[in-house]
Symmetry: C2
Subunit: 342 residues, 2 copies
């Protein structure tokens, strides 16, 4: 095990008390300028580094915040994490990152782990199965602030960071309608997820506004991964029940749909147009480039971290608020009606 220089080493070598050293290093007013200089020099010479563990024990603060995300295979969460990291680093906190792998059980285990590590607050985006509402409430009651982002529980009262999924789903659907597509389907996400519900609601209301019928057959559950989109689309192709446009819950789903289409010799957007959601770099790289909703991923992370730090510093005295960030629809070739433009 490595031997570190401690405050005692400095004190001994300089014949002063550890208290003085501590004060000098903390740059307090009540220590002689010369002594301070001497101590700082000696500290440098001995390559002194404060032991954060001791500091934390003394200050009764872990200076750590916990993070729980469903996964980080897709590009979305890594980008959010980058934003979180920045804010958390600047505030001198550390980040403990965990993955729930879309399982409520693992999520609960992760939360316990974070609690055991005395995190001062928790950032979380819940699993697609809806998470552990009671546990969240318990943690918050016990004094650990939580901030939810992106995937948030409806029944828990806490700060949240979201985008206006409803509005953007509405826009996306209207965009397809204005482009002259007649038979529009929605491939919805996991039914337990509030974001999925909101996007679906946006789709339905936009359709209704334009007097288009929405029935059971026009809303198909297709999960979060490309595989599910692929299978769902294959099924439609076999049934010969093809819409002329699909608004997908997210980009991976849309990519899966596209794959199934290509295999069946269908062309996008000529045969079926597509719109995705929460785009990543790939949207622009594939053929055809995919129309999608660009979420401010980095900013979501920053904002969530800020709200949490706010709760921590204020010791829960600041009222909860929900921040809704604006996203943007990027129209690309996959949703342009070629018949209309000709």
């Amino acid at each position: 095990m490595k031997k570190y220089t401690t405050i005692k080493d400095i004190a001994r070598s300089l014949n002063v008390s550890t208290a003085t050293v501590s004060r000098a290093l903390a740059d307090r007013w009540d220590v002689n300028a010369e002594t301070k200089k001497m101590i700082l020099e000696e500290a440098k010479r001995l390559n002194y580094r404060p032991n954060p563990i001791a500091t934390r024990l003394q200050n009764k603060r872990s200076k750590t915040i916990g993070l729980v995300v469903p996964e980080f295979q897709s590009a979305f969460f890594p980008q959010v994490i980058a934003g979180i990291q920045k804010v958390v680093d600047e505030a001198g906190f550390q980040l403990l990152i965990t993955q729930s792998q879309e399982s409520n059980e693992i999520e609960a285990k992760n939360l316990c782990l974070l609690e055991d590590n005395m995190v001062e607050g928790i950032l979380i985006s819940i699993t697609r199965d809806g998470g552990n509402d009671d546990f969240y409430k318990q943690l918050i009651d016990s004094g650990i602030p939580m901030v939810f982002f992106n995937r948030v529980p409806t029944q828990v009262d806490a700060p949240k960071v979201v985008i206006d999924d409803y509005k953007l789903a509405f826009f996306a659907t209207e965009h397809l309608i204005y482009n002259g597509f007649k038979k529009i389907y929605h491939f919805q996400g996991p039914v337990n997820l509030s974001v999925a519900k909101e996007r679906k609601r946006g789709f339905i209301n936009a359709m209704k506004k334009h007097n288009k019928t929405v029935d059971d057959s026009s809303i198909i559950t297709a999960g979060v991964f490309s595989e599910k989109g692929y299978l769902a689309m294959q099924k439609l192709i076999i049934q010969s029940d093809l819409p002329d446009a699909i608004f997908c819950f997210n980009d991976p789903t849309a990519l899966g749909v596209l794959k199934a289409m290509k295999e069946a010799g269908l062309r996008c957007p000529e045969d079926v147009a597509l719109v995705g959601f929460s785009e990543t770099e790939i949207a622009q790289l594939i053929e055809p480039p995919l129309t999608s909703i660009k979420q401010p991923t980095y900013e979501i992370g920053e904002m969530a971290a800020r709200l949490l730090l706010e709760q921590i510093e204020s010791e829960g005295k600041v009222p909860y608020r929900t921040e809704s960030l604006t996203a943007k629809m990027n129209v690309r070739k996959s949703s342009i009606n070629t018949r209309l433009t000709k």
Copy 2:
């Protein structure tokens, strides 16, 4: 701030000393069975949880290992991290994840942070600029074991986990040659990266073996991101200096190349065939599906974590070893010579 139950609370409430409580909780032999039972019950009643910070200070072990990756926007590192997490969790260690953002400076900062947090070991994949060799050596000398994976330094003596980049690059190139492509180029990665050097070496030697000339014009530097591949390909197109196949350093580069090709009306593989490296899910989803080398990402993470734990537990008494895992080439449409098959 939350109030936790401590060992003192239990001791006080039961009128025993903290030493006895500590011993009972650690399940030592020298404590009366009844006392032990009483203490365990009281601990449960008071919902006692040991304070990990105090334990670490006392034991001088942080039970934490640090991780430094260049980024986690691409799918590669997140998958590796998943493998690391598993092993590290099982060993009862925690993982402190940091990102160097491909900058040597940030990497050095991250390493300092990890050192300050008394991590017991470090897992690292270095930046594309070649990292901080001297710093690594210094850390290892000071007693912090390090294990390098994927992107490893050549000058530092330490355990490493890699795949046989040379061999697979050789195979990939031969695959293109066997497919009858005549003019084959290599878009190489950052010149400071050993993996880039190895892949280039594989390319060159495969070409030589088959008596094909390799000159300056057939090896083009294109970095790690799709943007660079895109720009490099645009340049070739403008110069009308088109090969009939390109072996790319990685998939993002290949995707960038593909984008430039599509914009120029070129078709893959008919006009230019492509092979990528270290594939992710997208390789199968794009059109045409991309031939690429599939790395055992999860296993790389597991192996790296295991080697590190081995170093930690043995206190550096186990000799260093380099593990080379096997990767696999997945041949897809992007590299099939259509002229040949007809």
